[in-house]
């Protein structure tokens, strides 16, 4: 079978369901996860881009996607599909954070 | 340079700075946050306390010890600058101080690099630079001349506009006040020269 790891790629998207969207800690978690993969990882807020390197903490932080936005992800290279599964899990879990809308969160 | 002379120099400079701490504070209140006097006093009290043991060392090591004390204890903006002056001098100076003009020139360059500044911005460099030039020219009786060179240079900072350091935030309001760092360097130069003449 032809070795297609160099051209392995995946594309998917998921809605940001956590309260703060892609701010602060979630963006750090996303970057940290992306960095564990050898393949290239990019994110965007639309299928047409602009695409941003998900391994760059500052670039990801600057995306500033709010709760409800759809995060598009694409991966290229060896392990691209496994990486995509992992990244989608993180996003779909709300980055392990509260998913209530900020106004819904009761304090005190 | 004997330990006795070195001790006299250290004590003279430290005592003079400590004695003028209030004046330095007043000058700094006008253009800065008013801590130059307190900071310099703290640093030179530490230098004064170690004067005997420091004076036993060869000149380069003594200057290094003084520079280290100043860097650690003075704080503020002037700690790093005075510390750098003495530390750089300690690296360049010959044990018998025979290369003082060249060593002092290197030390002043180090202060410029540390503070990312130069003469003309209303800082201690406006005293250190003319002093360094006078040393380089080597004309006349230097211990007699240098205090005047330094004092005139410090006075010359009064009408200057500060373009570096905290005073620069005052803009035009920095005009009409002597720069505190210029005053303290002039003090130190005068102190050294007086102790050498005695």
């Amino acid at each position: 079978m032809k070795d297609d790891t160099a051209t392995e790629q995946a594309a998917d998207r998921a809605e940001l369901i956590n309260a703060v969207g892609l701010h602060a800690r979630p963006s750090v978690k996303l970057t940290q996860l992306a960095k564990t993969f050898d393949c290239r990882v990019e994110i965007a807020l639309s299928a047409d881009g602009p695409w941003v390197d998900a391994k760059s903490p500052v670039k990801v932080m600057r995306v500033k996607a709010p709760r409800g936005a759809v995060l598009h992800v694409r991966t290229f290279g060896k392990g691209a599909r496994a990486a995509m599964d992992s990244l989608m899990s993180l996003v779909r879990s709300g980055f392990g954070e509260a998913t209530d809308r900020p106004a819904d969160i009761r304090h005190g | 340079m004997t330990p006795a002379l070195l001790h006299r120099l250290i004590v003279a400079v430290a005592d003079d700075v400590i004695a003028h701490a209030d004046e330095l504070t007043e000058l700094d209140r006008a253009v800065g946050d008013g801590d130059h006097g307190i900071n310099m006093k703290r640093g030179f009290e530490a230098v004064r306390a170690d004067a005997l043991s420091t004076a036993e060392k060869p000149l380069p090591d003594a200057l290094k010890a003084i520079g280290t004390q100043l860097v650690m204890k003075v704080g503020g903006a002037s700690g790093p600058l005075y510390g750098t002056l003495f530390l750089a001098l300690s690296k360049e100076i010959a044990p018998d101080a025979s290369n003082l003009p060249a060593a002092f020139a290197k030390a002043v360059e180090a202060v410029k690099a540390r503070g990312k500044s130069q003469a003309g911005q209303k800082t201690m460099l406006d005293v250190l630079t003319p002093v360094q030039l006078a040393l380089a020219e080597g004309e006349g009786d230097l211990p007699a001349r240098l205090p005047d060179v330094a004092a005139s240079a410090a006075n010359a900072t009064i009408p200057m506009l500060a373009t570096r350091g905290r005073a620069s935030f005052l803009g035009e309001r920095s005009i009409g006040h002597m720069d505190p760092g210029a005053r303290s360097s002039a003090l130190i130069v005068a102190s050294v020269c007086r102790a050498l003449e005695d």
Partner: protein, 129 residues
Amino acid sequence: MPNVGIVIVSHSPKIAEGAADMVRQMVGDNVNLAYTGGDPGGGLGTGVASIRAAIDRAWSEAGVAILVDLGGAETNSEIAVEMLDADRRGRVVVCNAPIVEGAVMAATEASGGSPLETVRRTAEELSPQ
């Protein structure tokens, strides 16, 4: 190669500690982290001795990135680095970045195993280019 260590130097002990808390909470524990704030007299400011101690605490063979706030923190950090042993001096950098965001970004980069220059460059992406 272990992860690059991070040092936070602020004029304020509270800011230094708070920034370190944010780094720990957002980035996790796999980065050596040390912080210092306050001058030798106990007021707002910075001191060479405490910066040196912080560098020692955060030391990593991969090097250390220092985040600073205002001028004095940068100057005193530079002096502290110059006072290190020759073999360590070349592996410490002072970043030109905002202190809190820079620390979080640098630590994020470091937690991924990036080398010192990459950690510095990431923090400095936050500053005007």
